[in-house]
Symmetry: C2
Subunit: 310 residues, 2 copies
DNA sequence: GCGTGGTATGCGTAGATGTCATGAGCTTCG
DNA sequence: CGAAGCTCATGACATCTACGCATACCACGC
């Protein structure tokens, strides 16, 4: 029994697990039961002769051997799938880029950049997926996506500590803002004082375990009143327009506002910087990947300049 | 059902079949029955949605789709096996070259070149296999060997017509010679006249179907008398030393003669040129492969020079 | 303590993957 | 021409694998 006896399905399952971070999630994604996934991993580990995953109560982590196997599995599966496409007479995927993005980038930056890219390079096809930062990072490592737009807050640590380190590029760095209804008293000025945020009703994101609470201004010295929780930006902004509360937003969202909402910077207190990062594996990107990266960069910078001056 | 559902075993079987040229031979090599191989291929073809092999009465040929799959399968299996080695803590195979050679190169050129290479580059490991020209060509295509020493006779056609064409390099081009016992009347002169070859007793190679008869001087206008057939060079030469007959030999064998045998050129009749070719896939070779190629070239040329002048 | 995440495992079944035996097609040889 | 010898294909059967289901187990948070 050696790794050479591993099966392609096992490699597929393993890649999915590495990407999802959880046997259960991988099972759902693959349409398997959790037990099937558990067994596949067990069999792969038996073939490899080592543990590939470190089991934790909140999911799994890749051991060094697991990282090795993941790298190889990714290229193996890519080869196989490319062969399948080629045999099926489908266009090969060299002109296709897979982009992952975190929720707030989808409202503004991604569509703009795709439109721009389609104008200048119509031959490039882009597929995208939304995901959380850790999900996107895992997807990058599993080579399931080629590029990821990530949000980062101080202290700006790299999003994972595995090797090789991801290639990171800061697209823009902006201050966190607050979105308020146009009719709201806070909406009268050109900025909001941090002291005025006391006692507000907040619209937060879904509380996602380890992550810090999103949507509420950080560092408030009170227990915030969460009036609503929503994941979707459009829902959140509509709730604001309806006067149901206020929430924090990245400055980049300015261009995508529905009527009835104003976005204002906050003065006083520590500056809440947020970075928009473009991440990829450190190896040199294929040409369409580089094109998309360039388009994202261009749109981000241009929109940054416009919102500074406008 | 798509090619993505193919199994690694099927790919392994397919590679072996491509390398052997026959389901039956692949089955023997793999320790399977012929029927198992047949089923595996059938299942792979079902997954691919096309025929990968053209069935012929004397074996199989790869269809264009089959060539595509072979290329991919070779890299996939290489990846998997490399992973297996790495997990097992074995040294990786980057320093290893796999060389294939046809029988008469094994007696002289190969050992000399390996000794030379070991002296100058002790870190490079070489594994070798003997094989017929078509077997070696298939092994090159299946990426089971990195380099092949081939023999070629006029009209010097490329050894296969698949794409991409193999990269071929002529190491030496020499005339076919005849080996005779020292005590033989023909051994008295410095050369043999083609007319004197009439009525001799020949030691031939095993009659291998399509191939022309080896060991007997080509173009004799009589039915030759085959006294013995032998595959092994040492056996053949010993038979000659014992006076049992004569046979044709490539000139390069001169340096590896047992006592009691003389090798002489033949005058009269058309010149029977034989080339020693070094073949590899057209992609740029890894550094150890290039080193071995250089060593083979050097030894071949040097031995050519010595036998011309000596 | 109990509900809610996670993973592991016993059990029964369906399907994949082998072997064996046989068949069908072609070439070679007597 | 017919038998032998080679090829690949295929029906019948055994076995082993890998799945789903149900359950057990463990750690965390309320």
């Amino acid at each position: 029994m050696s790794f050479a006896d591993a099966s392609l399905t096992a490699l597929r399952v393993f890649r999915e697990v590495a990407q999802r971070g959880t046997l259960t999630a991988a099972a759902v994604a693959l349409g398997y039961t959790q037990s099937a996934v558990s067994r596949q991993i067990a069999s792969l580990e038996r073939a490899a002769g080592t543990r590939l995953l470190e089991r934790r109560h909140d999911g799994v982590l890749l051991t060094p051997a697991g990282q090795l196997v993941l790298r190889r599995a990714a290229t193996v599966l890519d080869q196989v799938d490319a062969t399948a496409r080629e045999l099926a007479g489908l266009p090969d995927e060299h002109g296709t880029v897979r982009l992952g993005w975190f929720a707030s980038a989808g409202a503004w930056l991604v569509p703009r950049a795709l439109a721009e890219l389609h104008r200048t390079h119509p031959a490039i096809t882009v597929t995208t997926r939304e995901g959380s930062t850790p999900a996107l990072v895992r997807a990058l490592r599993a080579e399931t996506i080629d590029l990821a737009l990530l949000a980062a807050a101080p202290p700006f640590r790299p999003p994972d500590s595995e090797t090789p380190a991801l290639h990171l590029q800061t697209l823009v760095e902006r201050s966190l803002c607050v979105a308020v209804p146009e009719a709201h008293p806070l909406a009268r000025g050109e900025f909001i004082d941090v002291a005025d945020l006391h006692g507000q009703r907040w619209i937060a994101g879904p509380t996602s375990g380890e992550d810090r609470l999103m949507g509420v201004w950080p560092g408030l010295d009170e227990r915030p009143e969460i009036a609503h929780t929503a994941r979707d930006w459009l829902a959140k902004l509509r709730l604001i327009a309806a006067g149901c509360g206020i929430t924090t937003v990245p400055a980049g969202l300015t261009g995508a506002l529905p009527s009835g909402v104003r976005i204002l910077p906050v003065r006083g207190g520590p500056r809440e910087q947020r970075r928009l990062l473009l991440a990829r594996l450190p190896k040199p990107p294929a040409e369409p990947v580089a094109r998309l990266a360039a388009a994202l960069r261009a749109v981000a910078i241009e929109s940054d300049r416009r919102s500074m001056t406008g």
